[in-house]
Symmetry: C2
Subunit: 479 residues, 2 copies
């Protein structure tokens, strides 16, 4: 199996198939079967994200997968944004239903209809709830496994506050979680953009989204957090009585880390021409032990393998591959699957009371005395995760650049820069035609302004309309 990451699209298709991450042969277009090797990693990712969400005061709940059409249509921007993508249930058994039910494309309308019954006074606030679930969207864009499919696996948090300020600090907390989990733990870098007004979540006041870059320089949206303001609380009548006895609408935020898509970013960020590369904490199998067997020494070698496995079992998911395939075949297979550490043990190693340890990320080999294997693996595990993060950060930071004109933007994109900062007239609705021109000229989208950076393009002109620029926005080609 030849892999070549510089042809990313082909590389990605091959790796998801050869590492047995998914099966695309299911009978509904855009619906993918997620296979065990992928699900085992996604389950670890879920665990870490749920821990981050719960440690910040969110409680888990489970809302129905079906939403009555009457709930769904209550917030007008929201319904306009989502209706083209909704799967509708219209029959049950042999009967037509009286009302259509939407398969949730997102759960605002399911949850907020209940929130209005749950919230009465300041004692009920803040309300911070999350659910781990699947959502369904009849995407019209081309699907690609994990990156974009019609069914995806995510966490959604939905929070209510007494004040706008509290809601905005939740938005910042949501961003912190992305930094803590996706960047620090999964080693995937990103930038948080405030989306322009024409590209925000349907029903939100403002959308803040983490964008990472694929190896081909195109942007992929990771979690977004939304300042909903009072749009939904007014539509769903979610009010609390404040300390002076006055009824006020709550301020809301929501946040949607999509685990299946973040998994795609993990694959794309770390993989190489030999296959998947996984941070140690995400690997379904962290250490594979490959015995180098000759018939006459089989028993002794396998015994040593078992001793080593036991010695490291406290701290690593480890297994011995004692199947009848050749060592070379096994090396290739476990490299394709991204197992971070390989131990090779042959008779010569048994006699020398040592083992060979191989790092997946760098290919480095170490001869390690048997007694020291666990300590060496601990050390290497930390180095691997650190190395993956540093490498990804370095690559990513080289992909961000500046351009002050439409031509310069084109040149930067052609050079492979992912995010190009450009002076723009504004990020308000009125600038959408300016963004359309960027798209026509360079197939690039305006992703928004960098959150937390207020630098002004003093004296510069909008690259699209030529009027005075008031803001720096970032352009990128996107998935």
């Amino acid at each position: 199996m030849k892999l070549n990451k510089s042809d990313f699209s082909e590389w990605y298709n091959t790796i998801t198939k050869e590492a047995q991450l998914c099966d695309l042969r299911y009978g509904i277009k855009g619906f993918v079967v997620f296979m065990p090797w992928a699900v085992m990693t996604m389950n670890r990712m879920y665990g870490m994200y749920e821990e981050a969400v719960e440690s910040r005061g969110h409680l888990p709940a489970l809302f129905p997968a079906l939403i009555p059409e009457s709930y769904f249509t209550r917030e007008s921007d929201h319904v306009k944004g989502f209706v083209p993508e909704v799967f509708w249930v219209t029959e049950a058994g042999n009967n037509k239903l009286e009302e259509r039910y939407a398969m949730r494309p997102t759960s605002e309308t399911a949850m907020y209809s209940m929130y209005s019954l749950w919230i009465h006074g300041t004692r009920d606030l803040p309300l911070k709830i999350y659910q781990r679930c699947q959502v369904w969207r009849h995407e019209t864009k081309a699907t690609k496994p994990f990156i974009r499919s019609r069914e995806f696996h995510w966490i959604e948090t939905h929070d209510c506050f007494a004040t706008r300020e509290q809601a905005m600090s939740q938005v910042r907390e949501d961003m912190e979680m992305a930094e803590e989990v996706i960047h620090q733990k999964f080693c995937v870098p990103f930038l948080f953009f405030q989306r322009p007004q024409w590209d925000k979540f349907a029903g939100a006041e403002n959308t803040f989204a983490a964008d990472t870059l694929m190896p081909d320089g195109r942007a992929l949206q990771l979690p977004s957090t939304h300042m909903l303001g009072q749009h939904f609380s007014k539509a769903f009548n979610i009010k609390y009585t404040d300390d002076t006895g006055k009824d006020e609408y709550v301020w809301q935020t929501c946040y949607g880390p999509c685990i299946s898509r973040i998994y795609a970013a993990v694959i794309a960020t770390h993989g190489d021409d030999r296959g998947l590369v996984l941070p140690v904490r995400l690997a379904p199998l962290q250490v594979v032990i490959v015995p180098i067997i000759k018939e006459e020494t089989r028993a002794k070698v396998l015994e040593r393998c078992e001793e080593v496995r036991k010695a490291i079992a406290c701290c690593f998911f480890a297994k011995i591959d004692a199947s009848d395939r050749t060592p070379g075949f096994k090396f290739n297979e476990w490299e394709m699957k991204g197992v971070p550490l390989r131990i090779e043990i042959g008779m010569r190693d048994v006699e020398a009371d040592a083992v060979i340890v191989v790092r997946r990320d760098t290919g480095e080999k170490f001869k390690v005395p048997t007694k020291e294997v666990d300590a060496k693996l601990d050390e290497l595990a930390q180095q691997i995760d650190k190395n993956l993060k540093e490498k990804a950060d370095k690559w990513f930071s080289d992909k961000v650049s500046d351009a002050d004109s439409m031509d310069a933007l084109g040149a930067a994109l052609e050079k492979g820069h992912g995010f190009v900062r450009v002076p723009f007239c504004t990020d308000g609705m009125e600038a959408e035609p300016c963004a359309d021109k960027v798209k026509e000229a360079h197939q690039a989208n305006i992703r928004g302004s960098l959150f937390g950076n207020d630098e002004k393009p003093n004296g510069k002109k909008c690259i699209s309309c030529g009027n005075d620029a008031t803001i720096y926005l970032y352009a990128a080609r996107q998935y």
Copy 2:
């Protein structure tokens, strides 16, 4: 809030509302919102069951929630059994779909269509896959939260083997898991019945189901495991080439622990007239610390509460309820929610360097020196789980009895016996009319023969038709 468990139905409705386990006001009949207190316990239950399933060699996967009608109709008994309950997706966005999609009521047909692509030779067997997911069934029976709703949360395992014997030993392993998790860990007793032929899973050769009893003596089905034989492998063309080069159909089993329903059994088995009672390992909050505060001693008491909380935080989920409600209100509320252990600390306790510890299950109070709190809690936690199990087992074993005639069966049921063993002509299809007569006479169902017990009713007559009895079956009123 008055609770009276001897009126079980009312008790159950009240407790699920007052302990805030669910909200029934969602806009689709039979669809329930599961609230945080319930979901936190269900998540622990999921964790323990998934561990049992994975430690026995099952790998996690995720299959689509939608099943094309063409897959769904491939096994004829299966489709007949499930079609009356299926929610159908017929539209997407503004378009009618060319083919209807079933929202999975169970995943055999989704998974086996892929299995036929994955299995080739003996090396691919056994194949043991599970998924954690929701399923949807348009139940026509009355719904009751967690017990029976139109959306439920479960684990389903789907296994393929080379031989019938291997499949049957999987059935036994599935039963072992139920014993390990539901009985040993959740402290809920049950019996495993082989269902009569007229009451097996649609498409199965045989169904084995764990039945527990509700406090009103009615049976509730917990997980069932199914010997599918080769029905599905023939319908879905799942074949392997054996060592002699011959193609053979695989032998299959499936197993469906329904976590939301098992949760109902936990509520019903352990709860009492003060509310929910939970095994310590399932409690969202294991220890609540209630300060007994007077204004002048507030700071000192809260300081001691915090010291105690820190001392036990390593081993228990514990929190201080420092809200401004009265201690009596707090006691009632946390008892209603089933928190297994309460610590009370007032100024007198601070001075005596001791705390009061109260067991939820028995109401017993202990005065414990502050330094010994963690050791005492460890001891009590073990005693609580042991006590809950013993109490439940004792109650359950008293509910099983014998009857040799239709009248005796009626009398036993009226006395409150849950499972009544009766001699029956046979458990084959031809005895369905006999079972119907039992139902008419006593609103009781034939649950099947006790698995692993081959005792024969020598010389006895079927209680229904009066012919010679060949088998002992168990009758019960059911949910």
